[in-house]
Symmetry: C2
Amino acid sequence: MGIAEDIKQETFKSEYAKAIINIIFSSAWLQQQHVQLFKSNGLTTPQYNILRILRGQHPNPATVNLLIERMLDKSSNASRIVDKLEQKGLVKRSQCKNDRRAVDVYISEAGLKLLKEMDVKMDEWENANNTLTETEAATLNTLLDKLRS
Amino acid sequence: MGIAEDIKQETFKSEYAKAIINIIFSSAWLQQQHVQLFKSNGLTTPQYNILRILRGQHPNPATVNLLIERMLDKSSNASRIVDKLEQKGLVKRSQCKNDRRAVDVYISEAGLKLLKEMDVKMDEWENANNTLTETEAATLNTLLDKLRS
DNA sequence: TTATTTAAAATGTTGTTACATTTAATGTAA
DNA sequence: TTACATTAAATGTAACAACATTTTAAATAA
């Protein structure tokens, strides 16, 4: 059951053209499963991603600008996503000492605790779904990196 | 310049965990470029995808249900996307003879003409960006299919 | 210094997505 | 046949994304 059956298109112009569709389709397939996981913890995908970045910085803060830089989807609205996370008590905001224009964002204890719970779920999901050997996954990474180069 | 540099994360739990991020990041990278192409022809990505499906059916119609089935993003609102395409004169709608609940959607001459123009652009873009050999692309397809299996 | 430009974050606006509900037609069972 | 369930499409609504504009602060130039 390859991509051709999945999207009911039997022929492609080239293996490369097929790979482009395959990447986009596989990404949507993965993300749909992530969305379900995140939703069961009351988070959206961008909210989860921002929490992950903040944990990476912890105990240091991240400015909103840093969040924008690191987010996979650059054009989304980091400021309003931080609003939502703050409303839920998962992050804290405070004015940056060095630059009063900037805002320091920290992950809270509640945020860390939530991520810890989600780590377990993510691990379970990954182990349950991993059909590739480490060697195959490494090849996949090499090819994707080459594709974007 | 691999995914680690791209998203500024130096370590991953496994090659598989890295591959998941890599697929999602690569998909976003590809789609951002598509969005620019489509936008220069006044289309969004879902609108383009629906036109492609309708061309695949041409000269036969597709019902809205068939469009939903074939769309990569199933949950999006096919009915309203068809609205937009109809407003632009790129598709035509008519009541289905066999089932008066259903609606037959056809691509119009203007729609076919637009897609033809975009085919040229897409080919140019693909050729300009293809950094993989056909063999590499084929391996990539095999691995992605296996990942979803 | 004062004016101008640049930068960081927040906000306004418009269109879209996700999801639920409605409307109308068809299928099916009593 | 009537009643009930199912299906196809459209529509209502709330949250979200994309993109422009505004606000405040900092950097730079005259």
